[in-house]
């Protein structure tokens, strides 16, 4: 199964990963091989079969809507690349 250059570029945008021109041929090849492997699934008869998301079909546990965490902002922001006044800094978004 082949994956087109357009599809690879589109998916790279969705995944927010920059791709250089030289990487595309190898990706066309490798991703194509992986998708060929995966195509075996289409042969399976899955009529009336429910998808399995959790091996034990567990459902999300709920808890009381009460505050149980403490504010550890300083500890968590100590390892950030750039912070100021308790905010994370990123390049300007809005002109």
């Amino acid at each position: 199964m082949t994956i087109s250059r357009e599809d690879i570029e589109k998916v790279a945008v969705l995944a927010r990963i920059r791709l250089d021109e030289e990487q595309i041929p190898a990706l066309e090849n490798d991703l194509g091989n992986i998708l060929s492997l995966v195509d075996q699934l289409s042969a399976a008869d899955t009529n009336n079969v429910e998808p399995l998301a959790h091996p034990l079909d567990a459902v999300q546990r709920l808890r009381a809507d009460e505050v149980t965490e403490t504010n550890q902002r300083e500890a968590f922001q100590a390892i950030a690349p750039a912070t100021e006044s308790g905010l994370y800094l990123v390049p300007r978004v809005i002109e």
Binding site: I34, V38, R61, P81
Partner: protein, 485 residues
């Protein structure tokens, strides 16, 4: 001392013949002298280990020691360790020092064990050879004779190699598609992947959330039981873990195996299996018959779809889990990002290795509009069929047995040119993760002088039965005690 098991070391410490500080020194010295050859550790926490060992000795003097007090071990570098680098084998987290402990980390701390450091692994747990780590490949202590370097397996290659090289008696590990069992088999050590939900994933860096499970690795089944006693249990901080009582996994190790019903899935004994490998596995099964077990053939009809289903589900879940690595709050950030999009796209392009990027791209594709039904939803339906196969098999037998890998440890570089070749390494292990059942790899012999493993698969939450079966086998065989040259 470095040839002793956790159980033996615990008794040595208890008897007062050696202190934890002395024992910790011995292992740290071995790591310094030997690990250059294997590269099994990313971080060695020498000062902290000695401080913890001193505390352990004080606890013992005060009469407050228990079985793990003062015993050295290591964590796979996927478990967050407060204040200690946790890299997940990636450039993306090379500078990441977590401000908290994973639950597994906290459990071992509370048990008084002494962590010597963080073991090497395939990047973000994606791999079967430990060749994709940003910190360099791990070399298998086995097969070094004729100047070749072999892989230890992956992704928990560092843990497996460190144990095989006697640098540490036990190490934590994780298994998403075989990442405990396959390296255990290739390195001649004993490993167990528990039932999905048995061990908390809080603080265990996520790869594929419905498949990941933390587990145990050591040389003996008994040591695996001692580890699982520490690791298993309900944790309110992991919403996918199961609230179910934890038995003492050591209490039933010596139950007789008479009447144990073993099933051999015929799909795992096809003509694709080499005769030499098949012989070792069948010899192991014969030992079980001598111990009183009965054997019959069973079928897992959808087994051949397991790899395809996995290579949709795991990359899809990985693409979601790895979207958090954006250079904003922690981890790698590219230099001089010119705008927000450049920050994201270049941080991720530079921070992730090739295999990780491939899987994120495949996963994103599988989840994207127009493909979700054909890929992810379809794979989840096939997953239910695979699970049903196991449920059906366990109506007839108590455990399943099979090879762990198609072949023993291969040479570094042999399978890296085509990703799919590497994926086929997991042909016997992957269905287990899709179903969520527990499974072990137990050393079962040698092919061409390299260790091979027997896979024992159990029904949900039957870790005690697996450990019992493995322990009894290790009473009548000594594969697990063999040392690399």
């Amino acid at each position: 001392m470095h040839n002793k098991s956790v159980a033996e070391l615990s008794r040595e410490l208890e008897s007062g013949k050696i202190s934890s500080v002395e024992l910790t020194h011995e292992f740290l010295d071995r790591i310094k002298a030997e690990d250059r050859q294997y590269n099994s550790f990313i971080t060695v926490t020498e000062d902290q280990a000695l401080a913890d060992a001193k505390t352990a000795d004080e606890q013992r003097a005060a009469g407050k020691a228990s079985v793990w007090t003062g015993v050295p071990f290591a964590h796979k570098d996927i478990f967050c360790t407060n204040g200690v680098a946790t890299t997940c084998g990636s450039k993306m987290l090379a500078n990441f020092v977590p401000p908290y402990d994973a639950t597994v980390t906290a459990n071992f701390r509370a048990a008084g064990a002494v962590c010597l450091g963080k073991t090497n692994m395939d990047e973000f747990a994606m791999g079967s050879s430990n060749e994709s780590s940003f910190f360099g490949a791990v070399t298998n202590p086995w097969g070094l004779g004729n100047g070749e370097k072999r892989v230890p397996g992956g992704s928990s290659g560092g843990s497996a190699a460190a144990i095989a090289a006697r640098l540490v008696p036990a190490a934590t590990a994780t298994d998403t598609g075989g990442s405990i069992r396959q390296p255990a088999a290739l390195c001649g050590v004993t490993g167990l992947k528990p039932t999905y939900g048995r061990v908390s994933r809080y603080g265990m860096i996520a790869f594929a959330s419905s498949l990941d499970q933390g587990g145990t690795m050591a040389r003996t089944a008994e040591d695996n039981a001692l580890m699982l006693n520490v690791m298993a249990g309900f944790d309110p901080k992991d919403s996918t873990c199961v609230d179910r009582a934890v038995p003492d996994y050591t209490a039933t190790l010596n139950e007789p195996l008479k009447g144990l019903r073993i099933g051999l899935p015929k799909e795992y004994f096809s003509d694709q299996l080499s005769p030499a490998m098949e012989q070792q596995v069948r010899n192991a099964v014969k030992e079980y018959e001598k111990l009183g077990a009965t054997v019959k053939e069973v079928s897992l009809p959808h087994a051949k779809l397991a790899i395809a289903a996995y290579y949709v589900i795991a990359p899809a879940e990985a693409s979601a889990n790895l979207s958090r690595f954006d250079g904003v709050r922690y981890g790698y950030r590219c230099d001089n990002p010119k705008d927000l999009n450049d920050l994201y796209t270049r941080t991720r392009a530079e921070g992730f290795g090739g295999e990780v990027k491939r899987r994120i791209l495949v996963g994103t594709y599988a989840l994207s509009a127009g493909y979700f039904d054909a890929y992810y939803l379809k794979a989840q339906k096939v997953r239910r069929l695979i699970q049903q196969d196991f449920v059906n098999a366990f109506n007839e037998v108590d455990v399943l047995m099979s090879p762990v890998t198609p072949s023993p440890a291969f040479v570094q570089g042999e399978k890296t040119s085509d990703p799919v070749t590497m994926y086929l390494e997991d042909v016997f292990t992957i269905a287990v993760n899709l179903a969520g059942v527990p499974a072990m790899s137990v050393p079962a012999g040698f092919v061409d002088g390299l260790p091979v493993g027997l896979q024992i698969i159990g029904n949900y939450f039957e870790e005690a039965r697996l450990l019992n079966a493995a322990h009894q086998y290790q009473q009548v065989t000594d594969w697990h005690q063999k040392l690399p040259q």
